[in-house]
């Protein structure tokens, strides 16, 4: 049981993520979580503003169901399949984050300094979350996919566009983490 409750090693997790992709392909669908953002726009009537949102969103209910399942899975994993071991980060990472005023790096899944009620109640915290969300939502549609669609499905099927997109993900991620985050915290 302890093995299940502790964080799972990468060599178990990676193949299991591929299994999610394989199961969806077996059901005749494709693994792509960011499509749901488009579907939510279409459901909200965004078709009036752009042809991108004019499609039969009912055909995407299966993917919204995956999403609801993912939320339930998150709930189950945190409440019933976890101990309080925290994330075993590189001590260098911990030290670095502490000098940036992150109090308990790795204690939770997300830092209180960004996600706690107090952080969100401050203008800076709220703006950070909104900008982050906007960038992800805009970028993923512009690039035609996200981590699941490009990095997992696209690379697994040896598609060149996905390789370019993943390189883009890393350019953006490296700039944010190495040059912008230190200015923000």
């Amino acid at each position: 049981m302890e093995v299940l409750l502790n964080p799972w090693p990468w060599y178990v997790s990676g193949p299991l993520i591929a299994l999610v992709m394989a199961l969806l392909l077996y059901f005749g669908k494709t693994f792509g979580m960011s499509s749901n953002l488009k579907t939510l726009c279409a459901m909200g009537g965004a078709g009036k503003f752009s042809d991108m949102f004019r499609f039969k969103w009912r055909d995407q209910i299966w993917n919204l169901t995956v999403l609801v399942g993912a939320m339930i899975g998150g709930f189950i994993a945190v409440n019933y399949l976890s101990n309080d071991s925290g994330t075993d980060l590189n001590p260098k990472t911990v030290l670095e984050l502490q000098t940036m005023n992150f109090e308990t790096p790795g204690a939770k899944l997300v830092p209180d300094e960004i996600y706690s009620f107090d952080a969100v109640a401050s203008p800076k915290g709220l703006i950070l979350l909104i900008i982050g969300g906007l960038l992800v939502g805009f970028g993923t549609r512009y690039a035609d996919g996200c981590t699941s669609g490009h990095a997992i499905t696209g690379l697994s099927s040896l598609q060149k566009p996905s390789l370019i997109a993943v390189i883009g993900f890393f350019i953006g991620g490296l700039i944010m983490t190495n040059f912008i985050l230190p200015l923000l915290f």
Binding site: M52, V120, G133
Partner: protein, 137 residues
């Protein structure tokens, strides 16, 4: 009942992503600082497993549940949209530490402020839809 299998796949996905710590903001930070192999190991072993699965199914050894060939839709070609869009996505991913799957998983895990991120991501997708004809692709 047809939807039950998707719900179960989703639940499995959510559990795996939490237990792998791929939904951890700190793991994303560590990855982009090259201070741990963990995330590279996850993505790398997922892609290698995926390649093996698709190569086997391509040779016809694995078929879909309806008996059809396993089919992966082709991503659209291009360069500007992929590299620029990808970079914008990466900036957001590293800032909030969550991509479009983990956003919901973390919400389910009790990170309520994720609702703001999700709402903003939906809005971001909407803005792209409005501007897309004016952007380089």
């Amino acid at each position: 009942m047809k939807l039950l299998k998707y719900l179960l796949v989703g639940i499995f996905f959510g559990i795996v992503l939490v237990k792998s710590e791929a939904v951890s903001w700190f793991r994303i930070y560590e990855m982009f600082r090259f201070q741990s192999f963990h995330m590279y190991g996850i993505i790398g072993s997922a892609v290698i497993s995926g390649i093996i699965f698709l190569q086997i199914s391509k040779r016809g050894y694995i078929k879909s549940f309806k008996g059809a060939h396993i089919f992966v839709p082709k991503k659209e070609n291009g360069f500007a949209r992929l590299i620029i869009g990808g970079t914008i996505f990466g900036l957001g991913w590293a800032l909030i530490g969550a991509c479009p799957g983990p956003m919901y998983i973390l919400l389910g895990a009790g990170v309520w402020s994720m609702i703001i991120v999700i709402a903003a991501a939906v809005l971001g997708t909407f803005i792209y839809g409005i501007l897309k004809n004016k952007l380089p692709h």
